[in-house]
Symmetry: C2
Subunit: 144 residues, 2 copies
């Protein structure tokens, strides 16, 4: 596992005619403050990346569809520097992925219908604290 990356199996609770899916609580270890929450949707086989936040910790869940995340450790101080790791999040594999600053992330729509992620970030969006490079920059095979 890439250092400081955390995958947490989240509780889902059946209720009448539906369910409740927990996302994050303020007393969780992975809660680093609240700056902003947003959804991203991504269509089947569409890949977006790479981005790397300098300050933001991301807490990501996928309540709908299925999304593949690939993270790449860009921190030269880290013992997992240069490592890739892959996760597929969905409602049926309902986990929360906590991504620390300094780690590159890309993602791809896996479900043929709607794929939606929610990110609860510890700081609001700020163009100055995020780096972007094209997908081709890191040698990873995204083919489904």
């Amino acid at each position: 596992m890439i250092n400081d990356l955390i995958l947490t199996d989240m509780k889902t609770i059946d209720v009448e005619g539906g369910s409740v899916l927990r996302v994050l609580r303020s007393n969780s270890n992975e809660f680093k403050g609240f700056g902003e929450a947003y959804f991203s949707t991504v269509k089947y086989k569409i890949t977006r990346g790479w981005k790397c936040h300098k300050k933001m910790t991301l807490n990501i869940v996928v309540p709908m569809g299925s999304i593949r995340f690939v993270v790449y450790d860009g921190r030269n101080s880290s013992s997992t520097f240069w490592n890739f790791q892959e996760f597929i999040l969905s409602r049926s594999n309902y986990n929360r992925l906590t991504i620390p600053p300094g780690v590159w992330v890309g993602f791809q729509g896996v479900g043929v219908e709607d794929n939606i992620l929610l990110n609860i970030a510890n700081i609001p969006h700020d163009d100055n604290e995020v780096d972007h490079v094209p997908l081709e920059e890191f040698d990873y095979n995204w083919n489904i």
Copy 2:
């Protein structure tokens, strides 16, 4: 409009192969702190209610499907005491509904597929700060 109830038209941004849907920022007027985030799913024609929080402010969006919310002002200090108000939230009508403490809320699945709400609450779940009454308690016609 029921007092202190706030409906905010939220920005959605088209990106390559998908979109970004804003939910809440820490500098929004409607942000009252972060206690917990969770999803609730509700099937077509299923109605859940009523509940009333004593302390919690709810910030609700619907990123998938369509959900009907009915709120009932139970605060006898409010000039809109005894009033009902109805909202339908969905991705195509992408608004955030802010519900203050002291207001009863019920909701119903309107979409025939998956209907999902996200609530970002200012305090974590606490059974002691929420009241429940059966749907029949308030005279409202939920028929679709």
